[in-house]
């Protein structure tokens, strides 16, 4: 794992995706934020960073963002405006300063021999942009992507050109059912081909993947990021319950910090049954 660094970076660009939201003063709901490239020795798709406006500005807590991609010049993040903190970040302008610490946590497995099914929901698509860029055999990748906002709100173009991608709207009960059927069918295929499933999205979606990948015996890695507040394991605010298969016996069956033990977990090593029960109630 790379040692994270704290660094002050400047905003190169911030680009809205999709259409302005109705009734929100021409504000958009999704943004790609491009920062100058940090001096990281390496990084892995699935890892994340914490970001806040520069000293003396902004709300108290930074926000966690999965690393979308890193180019020769820049670090690119993709985020949805979901609270006052991300609303504030959406108002950043080119040249503004931000504080970033990362890369944090662990990343997804990347294996050129094994097919990988990527399951993403909404802005959970972000880490898969970098994953598709870096994968040595993108022809072995396929994706099912569910979303409520129009397709133009998400950075799908580059990914669609590198792998098979099924794009499913999820606005009605019928569409939700179709989305689940697509994921189930792909999960079954993935299991038969000896592949691995990688998923990123909101907790209801992750608990669905956890439950169904487990039921079908498909090895799966889940990137969990909800409730990360400090990103470094100090605040103890984010936690994920481990299962009896957790590699460190001392922690098996107990909560571990999502930010430092994850954010990417093997599904078999954690227990999301509480969220699964909540989803079905």
């Amino acid at each position: 794992m790379t040692t994270p660094i704290r660094t002050e970076l400047s905003v190169a660009d911030i680009v809205p995706f999709g259409q302005p939201l109705p009734g929100r003063d021409s504000r958009y709901g999704f943004y790609a934020l491009t920062l100058e490239k940090p001096e990281w020795k390496s990084w892995q798709p699935g890892q994340f960073i914490m970001l806040r406006p520069s000293e003396g500005r902004g709300r108290m807590l930074a926000r966690p963002f999965p690393i979308c991609r890193v180019t020769s010049q820049s670090l690119v993040l993709f985020f949805e405006v979901s609270d006052p903190g991300t609303e504030e970040l959406s108002r950043l302008k080119s040249g503004d300063g931000v504080i970033v610490w990362g890369p944090l946590g662990n990343g997804f497995v990347m294996d050129s021999e094994r097919p990988a099914l990527l399951l993403a929901y909404g802005s959970g698509i972000a880490p898969f942009a970098g994953y598709a860029d870096m994968h040595p055999a993108p022809e072995r990748l396929s994706m099912v992507f569910g979303h409520r906002a129009p397709n133009s709100c998400y950075p799908t173009d580059a990914m669609a050109s590198r792998m098979y991608m099924e794009d499913v709207l999820d606005r009605t009960e019928k569409e939700r059912e179709m989305f689940r059927r697509s994921m189930l069918s792909k999960l079954e295929e993935c299991g038969e081909a000896g592949g691995v499933c990688l998923a990123c999205g909101p907790m209801w979606f992750m608990s669905w993947v956890w439950e169904n990948a487990g039921r079908l015996g498909v090895p799966a890695q889940l990137a969990l990021s909800s409730r990360i507040s400090c990103g470094i394991g100090a605040c103890l605010g984010c936690s994920t319950l481990t299962s009896s298969h957790w590699p460190d016996e001392a922690c098996a069956g107990l909560p571990v910090q999502t930010c430092t033990s994850g954010p990417v977990f093997w599904a078999s090593e954690i227990d999301l049954s509480e969220y699964a029960a909540e989803r079905s109630s």
Partner: protein, 304 residues
């Protein structure tokens, strides 16, 4: 300028800036962001006798006024702490101070007995500021008599290690609690500025925290913390560690002016992992700017 502080004989800090318990992990978490050895001391996360899973989610929410949290001291128990977390810490370079959390006096005593044997432990903080009555969820340590019993239980087993009593601003008479813990053997008093609070999620029509009630921290509580220290700074004769909303070098000096011997950085550590290290670097320049050449004569030197 010499920033060293001798809190009590044998506990000398390079400077008056510490971490606050529960905001700094074991200290290891912050090693990528600064030199731990530059800090005055590292007050570590809470440790209980047995493993504790902590509070239900959500545990932390951000409000307009600061961070509201109810974390519940999740930890793997004191044995795990001693065997897996203490080894390898740079304790010869900076004092490490675990924060003891228990639901009764006997557990406090046993925790002290275990931790006092550890060379890596420079002192022990008794957390009297957490919900710690297993009978009805109230804080038995708000009461001067029970707070004193908890401190005395730790002190008796401390093998001479300094004992820090962390008292709550919720005490009905905070000066009375401060007097009681001093009489019970506390070597140092720490006073937290975090105050009880709740937040609601309007869309979900629920309380935002899983535990409903939490503690509000951040700049909003700094005046509460300064008020607390004023209540007992001239009454007790042991050093005070002030905390609550500390973010900057000027905050550090404000707490010292009111009477704190040292100052702890708390939830600001969540905002920026480099902040505490800047709070160590910046006070000497600010002291020079303000014409402060001796911290001991500056401390408690309010005019009027």
């Amino acid at each position: 300028m010499d920033m060293r502080i001798e809190l009590v004989p044998g506990l000398v800090l390079k400077n008056p800036v510490l971490s606050a318990a529960g905001t700094f992990g074991t200290g290891r978490e912050f090693q990528p962001y600064g030199d731990l050895a530059s800090l005055g001391a590292v007050v570590m996360h809470g440790v209980s006798l047995r493993p504790s899973g902590g509070a239900p989610q959500p545990r932390i929410v951000e409000t307009e006024s600061g961070i509201l949290s109810a974390v519940g001291t999740p930890n793997l128990g004191v044995r795990h702490f001693v065997e897996r977390e203490l080894p390898g810490l740079p304790w010869s370079d900076v004092p490490f101070i675990p924060s003891l959390w228990a639901t009764n006096v006997d557990d406090f005593s046993e925790l002290s007995s275990i931790l006092s044997k550890e060379e890596a432990v420079a002192a022990m903080e008794v957390n009297l500021d957490c919900p710690n009555d297993h009978r009805d969820g109230r804080k038995f340590c708000l009461n001067p008599v029970t707070a004193a019993r908890a401190v005395n239980a730790v002190k008796r087993e401390a093998s001479g290690k300094p004992v820090i009593a962390k008292i709550s601003p919720q005490a009905i008479d905070i000066a009375e609690v401060a007097r009681a813990v001093e009489a019970a053997g506390a070597d140092i008093i720490a006073c937290s500025g975090s105050v009880p609070g709740a937040a609601v999620d309007l869309a979900d029509r629920r309380f935002s925290l899983g535990s409903i009630e939490g503690r509000l921290s951040g700049p909003a509580v700094k005046p509460v913390a300064l008020w607390c220290i004023r209540q007992f700074a001239g009454i007790v004769h042991i050093p005070i560690i002030g905390m609550g909303g500390v973010r900057s070098a000027s905050d550090v000096l404000e707490f010292m002016l009111v009477g704190a011997a040292a100052v702890a950085v708390g939830s600001a550590n969540f905002s920026d992992p480099g902040l505490i290290f800047r709070n160590v670097e910046e006070p000497p320049a600010l002291c020079a700017e303000l014409g402060i050449d001796d911290l001991s004569s500056f401390r408690g030197g309010l005019v009027g």
